[in-house]
Point group: C2
Chain length 216, copies 2
DNA sequence: GTCTATAAACAGATAGAC
DNA sequence: GTCTATCTGTTTATAGAC
């Protein structure tokens, strides 16, 4: 039986353990999560973690690999044609970011994934290196290419690269600080409707930022 | 001897324990940090944690209190005069955010504090409630007042409140993801010079965002 | 592959000397 | 206030039955 196929739903002990790992590592932290707790959530026993992943740390790495795999699927980046007009590039950025924002803010799955990776980043985990080399840098480079075309700046200029990071930061903040935002906005929670409202504001910011990139 | 005065440098066992706690909880996480490790860094013994704070969890709370105290000092918010002209409000926002960005990105102390609070937020810790009620909401409200005056929108409108969060998100992203940013930018680390470069870009974004707030 | 039972290490809290 | 020694519970990893 294939163990690493992505098309299988979370069936099988291995996949159940990874799902439980991402969820618990993300919400409680790696160290605060016991293997017994993971096994219980995955409806299996503690020994299966050692059997499938060699130990708790092996499960952590498997969770990192699944993070990259899942996000690559969501981003589904296509190579950027070099002869794009600025308005076409801007439209592609709009559409792409709208989809990403919808996923990051709208899907419960994304909340777990972002929390998980956030902790890995905070701990400067080697998993971050893998994810960075695996798809983060390439994705950022592609977005910079579009951003450069849309704003009329050199795609790999400092201004463009930093602006792209800034915009990503805006998105992630609402995912990470969702409870703080909800409280300040008087929302019960950050649901689909609220996510759409945030997305609208962020896309306005996107246009505003595209208009001034490089005009320091 | 006063135990909670802020003007004393990190002298004394109590202050040393809090400093060690913020640093270790921030970088490794609360659960991953042992009391023995904290005591070693504070150059004291394990039992002193129970003596001064009642236990590991008491130390966590003391760290949260110090976070609020320290950041309140940095923000030093003054009440916003209601008869400010838009350009004056904009100038105040520029100056205030420039100082905050300098602190968040430039001071090593801020790295620990942000990491610490980030983890508390991820775990939905009750400390977040205290910090939110203690100074987060008031600060956000003050910034919204300035932002509203500068952009010509109602200060407590959804657009203004969300835009302020967005801008804060941009700042925090560079602090949290500093290693990723540094790698992508080809920097050795995120030092003073790099912080200034980021600040320049962010302040351009501030102007761009102020110009379009509410224009959905 | 799955599971129970156990081992060896480690945690936080505390008693009591000084 | 500070420190050492120790208690009690929990952790991960693993051996071995099925």
């Amino acid at each position: 039986m294939a163990q690493t196929s992505a098309d299988t739903p979370p069936e099988g002990t291995r996949a159940a353990l990874i799902a439980a790992g991402v969820a618990l590592f993300g919400s409680k932290g790696f160290a605060a999560t016991s293997t017994r707790e993971i096994a219980a959530r995955a409806k299996t026993n503690v020994a299966s973690i050692a059997y499938h992943f060699g130990g708790k740390d092996g499960l952590r790495q498997a969770c990192g690999a699944q993070f990259a795999q899942r996000l690559t699927a969501v981003l589904q980046q296509a190579p950027v044609p070099a002869d794009l007009r600025p308005d076409q590039a801007r439209a592609l950025l709009h559409a792409g970011f709208a989809r990403v924002i919808g996923f990051i803010l709208g899907q419960a799955e994304a909340a777990e994934m972002v929390s998980f990776m956030l902790r890995e980043v905070s701990e400067n985990s080697p998993i971050v290196d893998q994810v960075y080399a695996g798809f983060m840098e390439g994705t950022h480079r592609n977005v910079c290419a579009l951003w450069g075309l849309a704003s009329g700046c050199a795609p790999e200029s400092d201004a463009v690269r930093l602006s792209v990071f800034s915009f990503i930061g805006q998105i992630l903040y609402f995912r990470i600080g969702n409870r703080i935002v909800a409280r300040r906005m008087g929302w019960d929670a950050l649901g689909q409707g609220e996510a759409a409202q945030i997305a609208a504001v962020l896309l306005v910011h996107l246009d505003a930022m595209l208009g001034t990139t490089g005009k320091v």
